[in-house]
């Protein structure tokens, strides 16, 4: 069954979107939120557990001070107030991968609140960028749940599964949930703003060094709340919450999809069901999950096993002093250092490649070379695979090494692309791939000379033209030699050899 969609343009003619974004950030603390278990990704299922994160009877939580510190730093970087006193609360609901059947979270007393993030988006005029302020409602601390693997059944979802396996390694990993206030007035930029917000929030998290910030591994997860109201009404419609949006690209697509889906329903005079929906990465649609009206009474109350968190103002100021250069400032600095035009910078940021380009330059590549590889070749490949460029699996150090090989004249751009093919196929390091695939450029006169002689013999007419002084015709012979040498000839030397023989 597929949803009816209104065109994006028509949706905007008739309705105004309002968005609310909830982003969960998994912290990279050494240990979990409330116990001493390692908080690292991976590991054999259920090997990083203890009585506390398994929720065994009698076990008790104790707060990870490092996680509180990370939460405060995120709050400060988002221009939030830091609570002088706050508590954890129990959010009560049943789910098999939640060991205690309540989640220890924060309710009406978040650690950070009332902030904002200024998001840069391409200007409506088409020139340069403009800033859109996203107001932050709150950032609070909580623990992650375990992970269910539903076995059997076609979809991998719980419906229709034969049985489910639960891995509690993730249970209790510290999470910070960052919730925006309703984002109004974004109009046709809504999908773009949603993506830019998550991308720039991610950059901020990376700059703070508090999370691995890998969307593909779920260390940053976004939920998209969206509603439409009649254009110009200034009201708020019924919202849906789309979960499982695990890439920047999907954030944009999910917003766009839900706008068009809502618009089609409302346009027909229907009403929106308030519900949780799930983004389908492969088909690019959202599917209905669980109706929200299904008694979402979490019966919050303050967690009696924990004492309140009361960060001293001295601590807050000390942490404020540790904030890194903020991404916006950093972007301005880098653009100047790299000599990028506004358009080049905008495309780099828009492709989610800023950090990659920076690391590639850091590994020795020139700014233009780094930009070229990431924005042309890598962006195309990522697009083909339907992943974010950061999740492609090519490391900035590899790109820098490939460019170095080009600079040394050992390969050319065309061969470099074959090296990237090899990298994506997991064939080893760039040097190993060049060796294994035999990609190195041949500049040895013996081998080249034979190929040149063969080309002259095969193309007597062209050879005559060159002998007559039409040097431009040499291109055709060079092409023939390159073909013969499978692209691995040093083109400059080939030209020299041709002219030597035919002058």
């Amino acid at each position: 069954m597929s949803d009816t969609l209104l065109s994006f343009e028509e949706s905007l003619e008739k309705f105004d979107p309002a968005m609310g974004l909830e982003v969960h950030v998994e912290l990279n603390t050494n240990t979990k939120m409330f116990c001493g278990c390692p908080a690292v990704f991976g590991g054999e299922p259920n090997t990083q557990t203890c009585p506390t994160c398994l929720g065994l009877p009698g076990a008790m939580p104790a707060v990870n001070a490092k996680a509180v510190e990370s939460a405060m730093r995120i709050g400060l970087a988002l221009n939030c107030e830091i609570a002088e006193w706050c508590r954890f609360a129990r959010k009560n609901y049943f789910y098999p991968d939640m060991p205690k059947n309540f989640q220890t979270s924060q309710y009406d007393e978040p650690i950070a609140f009332d902030g904002y993030l200024d998001v840069e988006i391409p200007a409506r005029s088409g020139e340069g960028t403009e800033t859109f302020r996203v107001d932050i409602e709150r950032a609070h601390m909580e623990e992650d749940t375990g992970k269910s693997l539903h076995v059997g059944g076609a979809t991998g979802r719980i419906q229709g599964a034969d049985h489910s396996l639960v891995d509690y390694n993730r249970a209790g990993i510290p999470l910070i949930e960052i919730v925006t206030k309703p984002i109004m007035g974004s109009r046709e930029k809504a999908p773009e703003i949603a993506k830019a917000y998550v991308a720039q929030l991610r950059e901020l998290i990376v700059a703070l060094g508090v999370s691995d910030a890998r969307m593909d591994q779920g260390s940053i997860r976004a939920d998209v709340n969206l509603s439409l109201a009649p254009a110009g009404s200034g009201g708020l419609g019924t919202r849906t919450e789309t979960k499982n949006v695990n890439s920047l690209r999907s954030v944009e697509r999910a917003v766009r999809y839900e706008m068009q889906r809502h618009a089609a329903i409302l346009d027909e005079g229907g009403s929106i069901l308030q519900e949780t929906r799930h983004w389908q990465e492969d088909s690019g649609v959202t599917l209905s999950g669980r109706p929200k009206s299904d008694a979402d009474d979490y019966r919050y109350f303050p967690e009696p096993d924990l004492v309140p968190v009361a960060p001293s103002r001295e601590w807050v100021e000390e942490l404020r002093g540790t904030l890194p250069e903020l991404p916006r400032e950093k972007r301005a600095r880098l653009q100047k250092e790299w000599g990028f035009s506004d358009l080049e910078m905008r495309d780099t940021v828009g492709a989610g490649a800023l950090g990659l380009v920076e690391e590639t330059i850091g590994a020795g590549a020139s700014p233009q070379a780094a930009r070229k590889w990431w924005l042309s070749d890598m962006a195309r490949r990522a697009n083909e695979k339907g992943v974010d460029v950061a999740d492609l699996g090519v490391a900035p150090t590899d790109v820098a090494r490939v460019q170095e090989l080009v600079d040394e004249g050992r390969i050319n751009d065309k061969l470099a692309r074959q090296v990237f093919d090899g990298l994506l196929a997991g064939e080893g390091t760039p040097d190993e791939i060049v060796a294994a695939r035999g990609l190195e450029i041949v500049s040895d006169d013996g081998a080249l000379g034979a190929a040149v002689d063969k080309a002259i013999e095969a193309n007597p007419d062209v050879a005559d033209k060159i002998r007559d002084g039409k040097v431009a015709a040499a291109g055709a012979l060079i092409g023939a030699v390159m073909k013969e040498m499978r692209g691995q000839a040093d083109a400059g030397r080939v030209r020299e050899l041709i002219l030597e023989r035919l002058s």
Partner: protein, 517 residues
């Protein structure tokens, strides 16, 4: 044969401190003491049913280790080698921990509660796990899914609850000392009705890590013994800050063991004792307070006055709301704590016929695994926390709690300790209040305020009520962190009463028939 049995059972009549002295003097070994108590358990358990699990092999092995250490001169604590019983709500590695519930049948915890670790580190052999009302919900131990415990004073009567097993084990000389837990009186009320001593320490004074929570903000582990000194000895062993329990307090405990003999032998003049109006004079006018209990209370008070204490009446006006507040806060926390018992990972699992969903399995397992009182409190608590009712119930109860704390603060401005009868009546008959939950709840009227405010309390025997010849309890409450006052005043009264009686109250308990069988 009969001679050896007599000498063995003699050891079971001794207090923890006396056993420690005998070990130190080389008069006995920990193995001998432990075996004597295991024999006593074997002899009387049929009548009492104080234990859910007896770990003879484990206890004897720990005893042998203690004896070996002693011969090397390496003693871990003043009670090294003295056996102990532990309430079945505290987790024990390798030993079942059921909390008196079917839902935890067969669960063997992979970890020790911090207090259990401390007992092991201190060299106390653990005899076994004692019976209790399911998840500590009750005042009679009749809500145990494994059958009630019987009061050694009268086998047709309740031993109090929820910790009736620990109190009865100590009163029946099956264990010299025991650990209990007290959420609304579960140590003190069983102490009162079995003629034993029970202490609920300051909230946070003893780690709760490994105590399967009923109501986290009220629960506290504490000693169950036959003398005030034994409670102090045990309290010092298990007390202190635990990084695994954030609510455990940092300041070191005041010297408790010293306080007991000071109170027993020192000058008692000038101690200011406050009688709580709402739990004394006013209470006597109301229904439900047994005359014999009040008479013994007054007599104890007179003894303290004779010894030089100043007695004044102190009003704590908000105590009248304590029971109502307690029965909102406790079930609210309990409803959330008990959610984890979903049959997915441990304990009972009931799989209904057909093709049941995970939810069906949870429902069937919880239905079969929880008793009526537990279900009652889950429903109460779930309701009290529901959106729309939270402010009126849970929120309001928390305000009452604050007011009760202020009543205590104001009272302790005037007096050093507050006193009341521990429970309104002596032990009632098994089955008498099972169908009337509110009548059962009223038993904890005098003990609940201390839990709500986090202050420490002790119950010690005040004598036998005239009507039924059964023990009554005298409660002493002190300000938070001033647990030493419980021991000072408690030991003083204990000494005065024993002098008057010419011995310990349990000397007057009837011989258990089972013991001779």
């Amino acid at each position: 044969m009969s001679e050896s049995r007599t000498s063995m059972s003699d050891w079971t009549r001794k207090t923890g401190a006396e056993l420690a002295d005998a070990l130190a003097a080389g008069e006995t070994t920990s193995v001998e003491l432990t075996q004597a108590h295991l024999d006593r358990i074997a002899a009387v358990e049929g009548a009492i049913h104080a234990f859910l699990h007896v770990d003879a092999a484990g206890a004897l092995a720990q005893a042998a280790e203690s004896d070996a250490r002693r011969s090397d001169g390496d003693l871990r604590s003043p009670l090294d080698g003295v056996p102990i019983a532990v309430k079945d709500i505290l987790t024990t590695t390798g030993l079942p921990t059921t909390c008196g519930s079917k839902i935890l049948e067969g669960w063997i915890p992979p970890y020790d509660a911090t207090v259990v670790t401390k007992l092991k580190d201190a060299g106390l052999p653990i005899l076994g796990k004692t019976n209790m009302d399911e998840f500590a919900m009750g005042s009679s131990t009749e809500h145990s899914a494994y059958g009630p415990t019987h009061n050694p004073w009268d086998l047709d009567r309740i031993p109090g609850g929820s910790g009736g097993g620990s109190a009865a084990a100590v009163a029946a000389f099956e264990a010299p000392i025991a650990l209990g837990t007290d959420t609304g009186g579960s140590i003190r009320q069983p102490g009162a009705v079995t003629g034993t001593v029970g202490v609920k320490p300051t909230y946070g004074g003893i780690s709760r890590y490994g105590l399967v929570a009923m109501a986290n903000s009220l629960d506290q582990v504490g000693p169950v013994t036959r003398t005030v000194l034994d409670s102090a000895l045990l309290h010092e062993i298990v007390g202190g800050h635990d990084p695994r329990d954030s609510t455990s307090v940092d300041p070191p405990l005041p010297a408790l063991v010293e306080a007991a003999p000071q109170g027993a032998t020192g000058d008692r003049s000038g101690v200011r004792v406050g009688v709580i109006t709402e739990l004394g004079r006013e209470a006597s006018a109301g229904s439900g307070w047994q005359a014999g209990v009040l008479a013994r209370f007054q007599e104890s008070l007179d003894l303290l006055v004779e010894a030089g204490a100043e007695v004044v009446e102190v009003s704590c006006p908000n105590f009248v709301h304590a029971l109502a507040a307690y029965y909102l806060i406790m079930p609210s926390e309990a409803s959330s704590n008990l959610a984890k018992f979903d049959a997915m990972r441990y304990g009972l699992r009931v799989v209904p016929e057909g093709d049941p969903s995970a939810e069906d399995v949870m429902r069937a397992s919880r239905d079969a695994g929880f008793g009526d009182e537990v279900k009652r409190r889950i429903i109460l608590g779930t309701y009290a926390l529901s959106s729309g009712y939270y402010d009126a119930y849970y929120g309001q109860a928390q305000k009452v709690r604050t007011l009760i704390g202020r009543d205590f603060d104001a009272a302790f401005e005037q007096v050093d300790v507050l006193v009341s009868p521990t429970a309104p009546t002596t032990a009632f008959k098994l089955g008498e209040k099972l169908d009337d939950p509110v009548a059962m709840y009223l038993n904890d009227l005098a003990t609940i305020p201390a839990n709500l405010a986090g202050v420490p309390g002790i119950s010690l025997p005040s004598g036998l009520a005239d009507e039924d010849g059964l023990p009554a309890g005298f409660q002493v409450l002190a300000p938070a962190l001033a647990d030493d006052r419980l021991y000072r005043v408690g030991a003083a009264l204990e000494a005065l009463l024993e002098k008057k009686w010419g011995g310990a109250i349990l000397d007057r308990a009837p011989e258990l028939k089972g013991a001779d069988a």
